[in-house]
Symmetry: C3
Subunit: 132 residues, 3 copies
């Protein structure tokens, strides 16, 4: 945790650098201060086939879902979500200026009772802090 999954219409590849977009979301997530650094994972899935609104092919979308663990209250989640959404939305201003486009972001909370993980990135980051 946390997991950010972006799905986007393939036509966005002409308008946005998606590598820069996932990196921007990662940084915004770090800035919220509510996530362990080693647990942050952002990714984007390109959707070749899509149909939006009245079906016009020139429309585009980017939808992001954050799955996070239990234990943060609503106010904390709302504040963090707002920070990340604002950063992403500003990053996509040129897309809104140049096309008809729908951006969205939702959060889901994972059930801690049925959640498993194994991660050696946390330790790698610690070693670095000690040695670096």
């Amino acid at each position: 945790m946390p997991h950010f999954t972006i799905e986007y219409s393939a036509n966005l590849d002409d308008l946005v650098d998606m590598g820069a977009t996932v990196e921007l979301v990662r940084k915004a997530a770090v800035e919220t201060g509510i996530f362990p650094l080693g647990g942050i994972r952002v990714r984007a899935v390109r959707c070749e086939h899509y149909a939006i609104a009245d079906g016009r092919k020139t429309y585009g979308f980017l939808d992001m879902v954050l799955r996070l663990g239990e234990g943060r209250d609503l106010a904390t989640r709302k504040k963090a979500g707002e920070h990340i959404f604002k950063a992403l939305s500003a990053h996509l201003d040129p897309v809104f200026a140049n096309s008809k486009f729908a951006l969205s972001f939702d959060m889901q909370i994972n059930d801690k009772e049925t959640s498993w993980k194994r991660n050696n990135i946390h330790d790698a980051l610690k070693v670095e802090t000690v040695n670096g």
Copy 2:
């Protein structure tokens, strides 16, 4: 909202036109009358790697999840879901006739407290209605 995400086994590309499939779901969603036109987003994600049932490679699947906003009662959601599923299922009759295949459709409701969006498609559609 609403978001329709299809995941499908790559072998379906030989049996189905996936561009036509997302367009069919879009139309069926419009026909339910419960969604704002400008919010409808359907997409399909091709899954190159998959393993189904007893592992036979010729099996296929198409799974669709709809994420929608709060505020529609169960009867409304069931009726809309049934309409969309019937349309999709009929569209895939040839796949069922020619292969062993699993189709599924589930709904999830997004928490409105942690949901953000920005969308200039709604306005584009309105302008068109006024001018068109």
Copy 3:
């Protein structure tokens, strides 16, 4: 049901055979004994764009979500999830040994009131059992 969806960083393709990975998850799911054989669907989605932890490009992740139907108690779900996670984790030991990597697995329960399906794999498996 059940649906296993894996999302993974594209750099994993150099370290893991993803076809073997979905097949391993399928087998582990069968071994739990709690799922109807014909309903098991495992798939993997390659994520070309990703950003992890402090952003280092060499990090990798594999995240799996299981969506399953209602009707199994928590103890049953935990035991099944643990079995599947252990198998997947052991399969990925070489990735942990050779890279900084984050593995995760979460379960979600679908609402049976808004769940539709059509599946001719169940019948194909039955015919085989009778004739085979």
